[in-house]
Each structure stands twice: as structure tokens, then as C-alpha cells.
């Protein structure tokens, strides 16, 4: 056994430059795989959380920017007394700071039902009281708070990008430390409604309703039931579960998950071909050697294992480097704070790195397969003759 390891080590160091270049040609694609998977992973974690929340989103069927009457909330609440739901009407504000072009994602929410519909918010002592008593209360996602350097207690001014178009003052009451969504800002709709009324805009309409259901079967029931009961109303509704609703925005803009998956597949192909190239060059260079091994009695399996082991070792080394570098970079350095659209912070989870190393091993297996098979099937006599 140790002898075989020595042989493997000697094989790897026989052409160190070639080994190094191959490991690098595998490491770089693996880095791409890790980074892309981390982005996809971040998006799917976010989406999965939305899926688990048992929330439906009700919008106007005409289009997402058309509004719904706020009175629909009562109708939604009493749609089925046996399946109680919490309904939170929200109005889109968007907005920016007065002298900062970065867009904010602000929503004005019904003050009373917000805590019930979004139970991962306002959990820390004092937060709920502040939300209920302060008209200008604002909850800021912690990612956004870090990005702008805000803390609980700060007073900020937001210029909404939709009516009422006037600068609005807010007090930050929470930075949502327990919420999965680190991005969105929530303020109170009664405050916004006042400003809308003062500026002669329709204050009694909302952009969307979040309907928090008790169980998955309730969710399914309301998903179709709501639209049926508002069919032929002045404002027809479109009801989707929260995950589907949010996923639309992701796929409409650039469909990053899909494009990155395709890119990953191509990079893995590149790495496999590059490694296969090295292994086939090695095979060619060592034809005589393999023939010698075969002629002095090593079996198919031993020769096959020799070639495969080398391929696996090179790719594993490349894969480890390729996975470790982004892991360290995004866990221990300043890159950790780098702002990525949609998912805020890029988290390279160990499980993603492990998967990538697994991919690297698969690359090694694949790359070595053909030369290993050729080496195992080698007929010493033919090989020696070919070398002549």
C-alpha cells in the first residue's frame, strides 16, 4: 500500500509544472462553481424562507402597479370563518435618501396585523411597543442598515419614488435581527395615508395584501379561493404564494440563478476537458511504463487505479484550493461586507464548498476514465512495438 502511495507521489512530481497547471485549471473553475453556487444558494435560501412562511400575496390582476382598495382586507379576513387568516395591506414606497442615488425598498404596512403576518420581526424587547406607538416608526433590514450605517434610534428622511412624493421623516425602531429578509424597509401605512391625503392622492388603496395562513391546506384553499371570490369585481385579484411572487422579480430581471447554473455547467466542462487533456498527455508519455507494469504482472485493476488515483489527486488538490480561497475570502476578509444585489451578503457556506470539492472529484474521475481504461486494456507487446 505505501509503495503505491510513493508511486503516486512520484507520478505527481514527475512533471511538477504540468501538475501545477492542471490543478490551477481545475481550481479556477471550482472557484467559479463555489461563487455561483453561493449566489444561487443565497437566493434559494431567501426563496425557501418565503415558501415556509405560509403567506399569500394578493395583487391587482391588471398589473402589479395597479392598486387594490384597502377595503378588500375586511373581505379577505371574513372569506372563510373556519380558516382564519391575518391580512396585512402594504403600499409600495420605494424611495431614496435625499442625497444618495441608491434605491431603497420601502413598504408601508398595516400597523396592527404586521407583527402577526411577519412574525420574524419586532421580537426584541421594546420594538413592538415602539412600532405600535410611534407613527413614524421604521423597520430597516439589517443588511440595508449596515450598508447605510444606521442604528436603532436614528432619524432618517426618505423621498418616496411614488406618491406622495414628499420627503418623509422616520425613526428607526428595529433592524430586524431575526428576519431572513435583510433588505426591505417597513413603515406604518397610517402615516403614509395621512401624507397621501394631504397631497390629494388616493390614500385608501394598497399595492398588495399579504395573507398569512395557518396551514398548508389553508394556503392552497385561499390561493385559488381568493381570486374566485373577486372574479368580476371592479378590481380582480391575482393571488400567488410569496415564493412564486418573489421569484418572478428574480427571473424577470436577469434570471441570475439560471444563467449562473449554465455558466457552472460550462466551467465544469472546461475543467474536465483540461484535466482530461493532462491525463491523456501523461498516458502518452508513460505508454512504455504502463506496458512494463503490465508485463511484470500488474493486473488491469492496479494499472487502472494508478491512472485514476493520479487524476483524482490532481483534481482534488485543485478543488480544495478552488473552494478554500473563496471560503476564506468571503468569511474572514473585508469581502464579507461586499454588497451583492438581491442577496446582500455573499455567504459561502461550508456545505457549498464541500459540494464543490465533490464536483472536483467527479471531474477527476471523469478526466481519468478514458486514459485509465486505455492503460488497463494495454497489451504490452503492442505498446512496446508502437514505441519502437
Amino acid at each position: 500500500m505505501p509503495l503505491q502511495l510513493v508511486y503516486l507521489g512520484r507520478n505527481l512530481t514527475r512533471n511538477p509544472l504540468r501538475t501545477l497547471l492542471t490543478a490551477a485549471a481545475v481550481a479556477l473553475p471550482i472557484t467559479i462553481v463555489v461563487l455561483s453556487s453561493a449566489v444561487i444558494d443565497g437566493i434559494s435560501l431567501y426563496l425557501d424562507n418565503s415558501g415556509k412562511q405560509l403567506r399569500l400575496v394578493v395583487i391587482n390582476r391588471a398589473s402589479i402597479v395597479a392598486l387594490l382598495p384597502e377595503g378588500y382586507r375586511t373581505k379577505l379576513e371574513v372569506l372563510d370563518a373556519h380558516r382564519p387568516v391575518y391580512v396585512c395591506g402594504q403600499r409600495w414606497l420605494g424611495g431614496q435618501l435625499p442625497n444618495d442615488p441608491r434605491p431603497l425598498s420601502t413598504l408601508a404596512a398595516d400597523v396592527d396585523t404586521f407583527p402577526a403576518v411577519f412574525p420574524d420581526y419586532l421580537l426584541r424587547p421594546g420594538e413592538l411597543e415602539a412600532w405600535q406607538t410611534d407613527r413614524q416608526a421604521l423597520i430597516v433590514g439589517r443588511g440595508t442598515a449596515t450598508q447605510f450605517g444606521w442604528q436603532v434610534g436614528d432619524r432618517i428622511t426618505i423621498n418616496p419614488s411614488v406618491p406622495p412624493y414628499v420627503p418623509l421623516q422616520f425613526h428607526i425602531v428595529s433592524t430586524a435581527p431575526d428576519a431572513v429578509d435583510t433588505y426591505t424597509l417597513f413603515c406604518r401605512r397610517d402615516y403614509i395615508a395621512e401624507e397621501l391625503k394631504r397631497n390629494h392622492y388616493m390614500e385608501d388603496r394598497v399595492s398588495l395584501f399579504f395573507v398569512k395562513c395557518r396551514s398548508a391546506s389553508d394556503l392552497e384553499y385561499y390561493r385559488t379561493g381568493i381570486d374566485r371570490s373577486f372574479a368580476n369585481a371592479t378590481d380582480e385579484t391575482m393571488t400567488q404564494d410569496e415564493k412564486t411572487f418573489i421569484n418572478q422579480f428574480i427571473t424577470q430581471q436577469f434570471d441570475l440563478p439560471r444563467n449562473l447554473t449554465i455558466l457552472c455547467a460550462i466551467t465544469v466542462l472546461v475543467a474536465t476537458l483540461a484535466a482530461a487533456n493532462t491525463m491523456s498527455m501523461n498516458f502518452r508519455d508513460r505508454l512504455g511504463e504502463y506496458a512494463t507494469l503490465k508485463s511484470i504482472g500488474f493486473g488491469h485493476g492496479a494499472v487502472l487505479a494508478t491512472v485514476q488515483a493520479e487524476s483524482l489527486a490532481v483534481c482534488a488538490a485543485g478543488g480544495l484550493c478552488g473552494a478554500l480561497v473563496p471560503y476564506i475570502a468571503f468569511t474572514y476578509t473585508r469581502l464579507r461586507e461586499y454588497h451583492v444585489p438581491l442577496i446582500q451578503q455573499l455567504q459561502v457556506r461550508p456545505v457549498v464548498c464541500l459540494l464543490a470539492v465533490g464536483v472536483a472529484l467527479a471531474i477527476g474521475l471523469l478526466a481519468g476514465a478514458w486514459p485509465a481504461w486505455l492503460a488497463a486494456r494495454l497489451k504490452p507487446v503492442d505498446a512496446f512495438r508502437a514505441l519502437e
Binding site: A25, A62, S161, Y165, T234, T251, L263, V270, M281
Partner: protein
């Protein structure tokens, strides 16, 4: 004297497996690169058409897109006072267009209506055709006061129910039936993804009393920046951007994503360069004796170096061609058309990804460079072969 070209060409096929694998590596990288370049070029092309510095889009202060904006008629009328506002030479009318922007959700043709996207509906008056100079009608336009619309050609290609004679439901609660009566082009710009109708009827259909935005042209030679300053000043107090600035703002997020993908492709290209280096090292190592022979019969180190570089570039170009071909086939298979949301508009912008000669040229140039970089060290090593030693060894 340089080594003959055929010498390098034939040498590529001495080690068939290695050449094939290297070509495939390069092809994968170049194919992806060509797609990214094509996407970027399509985006830039669409925006370049909209990149008219003489056209200014005016929206409500604080709004980040025409759709989210509301401009009261009184505020709109203040724009008439701009000194630099261009006038139509024929009618002496100011080139100032009041516009309303809403959206309608329509099924995509691409996936047979499985998904739908928001298409912009713009309410316009005659002035719009004079301000947006690229707009050309094919067929007739909507009649004033009638429930008729004309459709941008790209929108018609991508969404169902937008052919002449088709009807679509518009209005505050989707209850007004509009008939498609004509098409228009806008030189490939973003307006081609829109539906246009008569402003007064659309205002009433959507229960609105305010315009969304205004587009205006400034006099030739007038300075856009100073006009924007005047519009944003206390007398008018609206927000203004050149058409170019507005549309590049709307696609800023997509350009970030594209940059991420481009960066990853760059990393892939480095990996490909390593693979080329590996291949070339093997080529050099396998031909030590041959190289020594060439040196003895009078070829200089410089020619050997250039020769191996040329070989690598040939290899890279071969891979590049395969990659471009694969990318072209991929686009042919999944379709050239692509659409996406603007970051603030909630409406879709459609465009075509095509592999133009310029893109293919650029991709091939990039890959030739990668090939040359990858071969630099091996070629240098080849040029420094110790003639006597190599001949003795072989």
C-alpha cells in the same frame, strides 16, 4: 526566414487527442464569452438608439421611472417656458410631448404563454411622433379619441395578442377594449417594446388627471445640462434626465449582473490559458529533438519562439471558431429574443442577441491573446533548447 505555416498547421494534428481536448476547452470559454458579448452589445445597441442627448425626459421629483411618476397638467405647462425648447419648423409647435405610462400584463410567445410580462402602454399625442424622431409607423396610427393602439414591433414579436386586428383589455379595471391598428419601429430602441395609444382616452380609461411624464427636444446646439438645471430649478421643480441617462439608469442592475458573469468568464479564460500552456509544454517537450534539428539547419531562436506562439494562436483560433459556432447554434435553438425588466419601470424591455461579425472578431481576438499568453513560457523554453544536448538525448 520564418518557419512555413504548413509546418505548424500539420503539427497541430500530430497529437490529435490533445489538440481536440484543448480546442474543446477553448471552444467552451469562447462560446460563453460570445454570448456575454452578444448580450452586452444587444443591451448597448438598444440603449444607444435611446441615447439621444437632445431629448429630455421629465418626471416627478423623487420618482425613478416614468411609470412611477405623476406630473400635474399645470406643472407640465410650465415646461413651455423653457427658452431652449425646440420647435417644429413646419407648424412652429413646441417639441414637447405629454405622456402617460401604464402597463399591461401579456403572455409571452416564447414559452407559449406559460409566463407573462408587463408591457408598457404609453398614452401619447401627435407631439410624441415629432419628439421621438426614431419612431416610424408601418400601417396606420390610432385615431384621436378612438380605442385604438399601435404596437412596437418587438412587443408584437414577443407577446401574444398584439397583431393587427387583435384586441386587448386596458383601463383602470381592465374593462376597456382596445384594438391594434398598426405597428411602429423605433430604430431598435426601447420604445419598440411598447404599446402606444391616444393620451386623452387612455387618461380617462385609467381614471387619471395627471400625466406620467413629458418628453421634449431641445434646440440644436443647446446645452442639455443647463436645460435640466432649469427644469429642476425652483420655477418648474420637476426632475429631468437625458433620454440616454434615463435608459442607462433603468438597466444599471442588469449591467451589474452581466459584469459578474463577465468576471467569471474571465476566470474561465485564465483556466483555458493554463490548459493551453500545458498543451504547448507537451508539444515542446515532445519535439525537443526536432527543435534542435531546426536550430542546426539555421532557424534562429526567435523564429522558433514565434513559431510556437503561432501554433498556439492557431489552436486557440480553431477553438474560438468552434465556440462561436456553438454559441450561434445555441442562440438558434433557444431563440435570439430576450426580455427583462428595467430596474424601476416594472415593464419589460425586449432585445435581440445576435452574433455580429464584430462580436465574433472580438471573441477571436481575445482568444488569440489567451493562446499567445498561454504559449509564451513554453515557446520561450523551445527557443532556448540546448542544441547539442537535445540532439544527443533523442
Amino acid at each position: 526566414m520564418a518557419l512555413p505555416f504548413t509546418y505548424h498547421w500539420r503539427n497541430l494534428f500530430v497529437r490529435k487527442t490533445t489538440t481536440l481536448l484543448t480546442v474543446l476547452v477553448i471552444a467552451a470559454v469562447v462560446g460563453t464569452l460570445a454570448w456575454v458579448l452578444g448580450f452586452g452589445a444587444a443591451l448597448a445597441g438598444s440603449l444607444a438608439v435611446a441615447g439621444d442627448e437632445q431629448t429630455i425626459i421629465v418626471i416627478r421629483r423623487g420618482a425613478n421611472s416614468e411609470g412611477a411618476s405623476a406630473v400635474p397638467v399645470a406643472d407640465f405647462n410650465k415646461l413651455n417656458q423653457l427658452a431652449d425648447l425646440a420647435r417644429d419648423p413646419a407648424s412652429d409647435q413646441p417639441l414637447l410631448s405629454p405622456e402617460m405610462l401604464v402597463q399591461v400584463s401579456l403572455p409571452r410567445l416564447r414559452d407559449r404563454g406559460r409566463t407573462s410580462a408587463n408591457v408598457a402602454v404609453r398614452g401619447v399625442t401627435d407631439a410624441a411622433f415629432r419628439v421621438h424622431r426614431t419612431v416610424r409607423l408601418s400601417g396606420r396610427t390610432f385615431s384621436t379619441g378612438a380605442s385604438e393602439v399601435i404596437v412596437g414591433v418587438r412587443a408584437a414579436q414577443q407577446f401574444a395578442g398584439l397583431q393587427i386586428g387583435d384586441t386587448l383589455n386596458l383601463g383602470f379595471s381592465d374593462n376597456r377594449v382596445y384594438k391594434v391598428v398598426g405597428f411602429f419601429t423605433a430604430a431598435g430602441g426601447p420604445l419598440e417594446s411598447e404599446i402606444w395609444g391616444d393620451l386623452p382616452t387612455l387618461l380617462s380609461a385609467y381614471n387619471r388627471t395627471m400625466y406620467s411624464a413629458a418628453s421634449l427636444r431641445i434646440r440644436d446646439g443647446a446645452d442639455a445640462a443647463s436645460v435640466i438645471k432649469e427644469i429642476e430649478g425652483p420655477a418648474i421643480d420637476l426632475s429631468a434626465q437625458t433620454e440616454k441617462g434615463y435608459w442607462s439608469g433603468q438597466t444599471s442592475q442588469v449591467r451589474i449582473y452581466l459584469a459578474i458573469v463577465a468576471a467569471l468568464v474571465l476566470v474561465m479564460a485564465v483556466a483555458a490559458a493554463f490548459s493551453i500552456a500545458n498543451t504547448m509544454f507537451a508539444h515542446v517537450a515532445g519535439r525537443m529533438r526536432e527543435i534542435a534539428m531546426l536550430r542546426t539547419i539555421g532557424f534562429g531562436g526567435r523564429q522558433i519562439l514565434l513559431g510556437f506562439l503561432l501554433e498556439a494562436v492557431l489552436l486557440a483560433l480553431l477553438g474560438g471558431l468552434v465556440g462561436c459556432l456553438a454559441c450561434a447554434l445555441w442562440l438558434e435553438a433557444i431563440g435570439h429574443t430576450k426580455d427583462m425588466y428595467g430596474s424601476g419601470t416594472f415593464t419589460t424591455l425586449a432585445f435581440d442577441i445576435r452574433l455580429t461579425p464584430a462580436i465574433v472578431g472580438l471573441a477571436l481576438a481575445a482568444v488569440a491573446l489567451v493562446g499567445a499568453v498561454g504559449a509564451l513560457v513554453p515557446a520561450w523554453r523551445a527557443a532556448r533548447v540546448q542544441v547539442i544536448a537535445a540532439l544527443r538525448e533523442g
